[in-house]
């Protein structure tokens, strides 16, 4: 498509923008490497932390990608489904489990109870949100459901704040997750909670893949994502399938919430918002609408965030560079959306989706 000469001006601006960011990254990386401030072991630790963090982003990103695939809508409230998982974990783990001592007597069973209740709460509020705030507006202009989604996000945030209070809540340590395991071949150790995160994520992703690819319901979700009207003609209950899609995404977010609270062990109601936006970044990074993309995008984002400040920013001589972790994530968000909205895995969006 040929546009007027204005196009060149904008193109030029964007090229300068891109070049500046690239130069900053290369320069920072070079300076850091030349300075060589850390041992290899530290870098490995960064990467492991990034992987754990990225796994959680991947789990949340699944929800964005599933919903986008089916409805072409950014479910802005998805971060709150994650937060619901976090707060449910807190409540279940402290009040009934930890106080009765059941938590450390039967840790595996406790974790299962926590996971199931968190998933249940996340699923419940996601289905409710879809039913009330999105379903009646399916035919409305695209900005309208986005606005209700923003509304739903703030509503749930403050609803949970009202229910459970606004303070930062500590989470008791589960004994079997305390401590580290040695990784001799890398010359470092790994926190047990990080192992749990990575293993759970892999299990969940495999289960999800099975659900979407091999079950009848999964087939229905794929059909609805392809074409709602035709799916309807084929006897698929579209409304129900969309609800199931939301529930699936919320279940993943709920699990991510459990993992997040077990790793960071300090939670509060505003915790869903920023990870939510970051997970959205991950979903776009991997190509929104694609499930493997969400997983890859999540891991990449997690790594960038954990390695990035020390690698790019330290070299630039920025004081307290770790404060700018979020800036790296958001810069990635902006860059990806501006320059490569189809994502790096590269599923090209059709006209309708873009």
């Amino acid at each position: 498509m040929t546009r007027s000469k204005d196009f060149d001006f904008v193109g030029l601006f964007l090229w300068v923008f891109r070049a500046v960011i690239l130069i900053l990254i290369v320069w920072g990386t070079y300076a850091t490497i030349a300075d060589n401030p850390y041992e290899t072991r530290t870098w490995v630790d960064f990467i492991i932390f990034g992987l754990a963090q990225g796994s959680m982003y991947a789990l949340i990103a699944i929800g964005y990608t599933l919903v986008y695939g089916v409805l072409f809508m950014i479910n802005f409230a998805h971060g709150e489904f994650f937060m619901a998982g976090i707060l449910t974990t807190t409540v279940v783990i402290t009040t009934p489990l930890s106080e009765s001592g059941f938590l450390n007597e039967q840790p595996i069973l406790s974790l299962l109870i926590i996971a199931i209740s968190s998933m249940a709460v996340s699923i419940f509020i996601s289905v409710l949100t879809e039913r009330i705030a999105y379903r009646p507006l399916r035919k409305a202009p695209r900005l309208v459901p986005l606005i209700t989604a923003i509304g739903a996000s703030y509503f749930w945030q403050n609803y949970f704040r009202g229910l459970f209070g606004s303070g930062i809540k500590p989470i008791p340590q589960i004994e079997i997750l305390d401590g580290t395991i040695p990784l001799d071949f890398l010359g470092t150790t790994m926190l047990k909670s990080h192992v749990l995160v990575i293993v759970t994520t892999i299990v969940m992703l495999i289960a999800l893949n099975f659900f979407i690819m091999k079950t009848k319901t999964g087939k229905a979700i794929r059909a609805v994502a392809e074409d709602k009207d035709v799916a309807n003609l084929m006897g698929i209950n579209v409304d129900q399938t969309i609800s199931i899609t939301f529930a699936t995404g919320a279940a993943m977010a709920g699990i991510a919430g459990v993992l997040y609270s077990l790793v960071f062990r300090q939670v509060h109601f505003f915790m869903g918002f920023i990870p939510g936006i970051k997970a959205f970044t991950a979903a776009v990074l991997g190509g929104i609408g694609s499930l493997p993309g969400a997983a890859v995008g999540g891991l990449l984002l997690g790594m960038f965030e954990s390695v990035g400040p020390s690698l790019f920013l330290r070299g630039l001589g920025i004081p307290a560079f770790n404060q700018l972790k979020d800036v790296i994530a958001f810069t990635m968000l902006v860059m990806v959306l501006i320059f490569r909205p189809q994502g790096i895995v590269g599923e090209v969006l059709s006209e309708k989706k873009a």
Binding site: S4, D6, F9, V10, F13, L14, F17, M73, I74, V91, T95, I132, A133, P136, L137, A140, R142, L143, V144, P145, L146, I147, T148, I150, G151, A152, S153, Y154, F155, W156, Q157, N158, Y159, R161, G162, L163, F164, G165, S166, F273, I274, I277, F280, T281, I318, P319, A320, F321, Q323, L324, D326, V327, F330, T331, L333, V334, L337, I338, P341
Partner: protein, 565 residues
């Protein structure tokens, strides 16, 4: 058969109402407002908040019934009321059985006391709650059988009492100072003591006020639709300025701070700053249809520019005067708008919203970080910003600062209004409706979009500049994404693209919570809910712009009729 179905509907409605009432209780809203009396010693606002749910639900439910079913309407109302009470009764019983407060922090003894009317026995209290809810809902449903006129006058009376009671704290203060100024302070205090007690209206004056309001409501003849349209005041009709409406309004605006006093002037100033931001975002979202969630960035840029230019502290660079710095702030913000506008030129809809959100977050993180600390003060912010002054007159009191805000708002209103009807305004709206078509019509999308971003940003920069010098110190924490959401909510509630809507929206969403200060904590809960409810029920807002109203409510026939003209 049919009746059975209606009962089932009533039962379902009752459960919905029950969940809402339970939420209001468990979120702590009821308890918080229990401290605010409506009628001294008789009703608190907390009780009103819980009981209003089944009452409104029952009223609406019976309103939608067919004529013949309405005869049994009150019974349905009673069913709704009783069902609403069930979750609350369960909550009461649960609170006696185990320590529910460990989980739900707001289920406190005083909440239970409120719900059980102070009864020691939870079961008796629960029963009392159930019966009273059923009874009130019965009455509320029964109002449909009253003559229209009586029904209306009753409502007028009830609403008046509610408003007087709710705002009695403010009223007390105002009556005391205004009557005090006229008749001497002892008379002012005496009047207040007669009317109000412990920040609520007394029972006897309440009955008097109710009687008067009811009578006024009874005598008032409702306007027909036509009269309503006629009485709608327009400032300009057929190109002529209507001095009859303009002059009283201008006088009112000029003397407003005298009537309002310090506290209310402060509230008005805050509302004014939000009106400024709202007008700016209205250009971006309302006129041009570009959803910008990082709008707070420009507010921050305006405020920081003002701070750096004028501060007398260590971070201030030039020690400029407010008036000299003001245009610079606006220009800097507008330039920032251009800088943001260019990269996002080719984005649409939801992606644009997320990118702007990202930009906003980046700017707020940078403002807090140590990296920019030598320039903008990091988390400690910038202090010692002087207030505006002319000669030796310093605008210290909110009553005086009001005029600065007023001037800004009037200027922004004028600019918005002229822009809306200009060529550029029409281009924006064309772009909002359909970018491709607009481009095909020869509209330069790039120029139009960038102008929308930069003018919107300029308004916000102006708001930020006034904000900084009003507070005399700024901190990065005051510029978070919630401000963008506040502004977005207020223009949506007022009506997207509507200028009076911005004012109404700001007054309701920013002014009201400041008057009901307990509310502050629940503000965002309400905003979230409002965004959803507005989009579902009234997407054009409460004061819709003409174009939007026509679009959203036009049927095909209207278009045919218009085309035929």
């Amino acid at each position: 058969m049919n009746i059975k179905k209606t009962y089932r509907d009533a039962w379902n409605t009752g459960w919905t109402a029950g969940i809402v009432a339970l939420s209001i209780s468990a979120l702590g809203l009821a308890e918080l407002f229990a401290k605010r009396n409506i009628v001294s010693g008789v009703i608190t606002m907390g009780q009103v908040m819980v009981f209003i749910v089944p009452i409104v639900m029952a009223y609406n439910f019976t309103k939608n019934l067919s004529m013949e079913q309405r005869k049994t309407g009150p019974l349905f109302g009673a069913v709704i009321g009783a069902t609403t009470a069930i979750p609350l009764v369960l909550l009461i019983i649960a609170s006696t059985l185990f320590n529910i407060r460990d989980i739900f922090v707001n289920v406190s003894p005083s909440l239970i006391e409120l719900l059980t009317f102070g009864q020691e026995n939870a079961y008796l209290g629960g029963l009392l709650l159930l019966v009273s809810m059923a009874l009130l809902s019965y009455l509320s449903a029964y109002t449909h059988q009253l003559p229209e006129k009586i029904k209306r006058s009753l409502f007028t009376g009830l609403i008046t009492i509610l408003l007087v009671g709710m705002f009695s704290e403010i009223l007390t203060e105002r009556i005391r100072s205004i009557f005090g100024a006229i008749f001497g302070s002892s008379v002012g205090s005496a009047i207040v003591r007669f009317l109000f007690k412990s920040k609520a209206i007394q029972s006897i004056p309440a009955i008097v006020v109710f009687a008067i309001a009811t009578y006024v409501g009874y005598r008032k003849i409702p306007k027909t639709e036509e009269e309503k349209n006629k009485s709608k005041r327009a400032f300009i009709v057929d190109g002529k300025v209507q001095w009859k409406t303009v002059i009283p309004l201008a006088v009112l605006l000029l003397i407003l701070p005298l009537l309002l006093g310090t506290y209310l002037s402060e509230v008005t100033n805050n509302v004014g700053i939000y009106i400024l931001m709202g007008l700016g975002l209205n250009i971006v979202v309302g006129f041009a249809g570009l959803l910008d969630l990082g709008y707070v960035a420009f507010f921050a840029i305006g405020a920081y520019t003002m701070a750096v230019l004028t501060s007398t502290g260590p971070l201030g660079l030039f020690g400029m005067s407010f008036w000299l710095a003001l245009p610079i702030c606006v220009i800097v913000a507008a330039l920032a708008g251009v800088m943001l506008g260019i990269p996002v030129l080719r984005m649409r809809g939801d992606y644009l919203a997320i990118v702007t959100l990202g930009f906003g977050e980046i700017i707020s993180r940078l403002a807090i970080s140590d990296m920019l600390k030598p320039y903008v003060g990091g988390a400690q912010g910038i202090l010692q910003i002087p207030k505006p002054s002319i000669g030796s007159l310093v605008f210290t009191k909110p009553e005086v600062l009001y005029y600065v805000v007023l001037a800004g708002v009037l200027l922004a209103l004028f600019v918005s209004w002229r822009l809306r009807d200009s060529r550029l305004g029409r281009q924006w709206m064309a772009m909002r409706e359909d970018e491709d078509v607009a481009e095909a019509m020869g509209i330069n999308l790039m120029k139009t979009k960038i102008l929308a971003f930069s003018i919107g940003a300029a308004f916000s920069g102006l708001a930020g500049a006034i904000f900084a010098s009003k507070l005399t110190s700024i901190f990065p924490h005051s510029f978070n994404v919630l401000i963008s959401i506040n502004v977005l909510s207020l223009i949506i509630v007022g009506g997207i693209g509507s200028l009076p809507g911005v004012i109404v929206g700001a007054a309701v969403l920013i002014g009201l919570p400041e008057l009901l200060r307990e509310f502050a904590e629940y503000r965002l809960l309400m905003y979230g809910l409002l965004l959803i409810v507005m989009m579902l029920a009234k997407p054009e807002g409460f004061v819709p712009s003409e174009v939007h109203k026509r679009e959203l409510h036009a049927t095909d026939e209207d278009f045919v009729a218009e085309a035929g003209d």
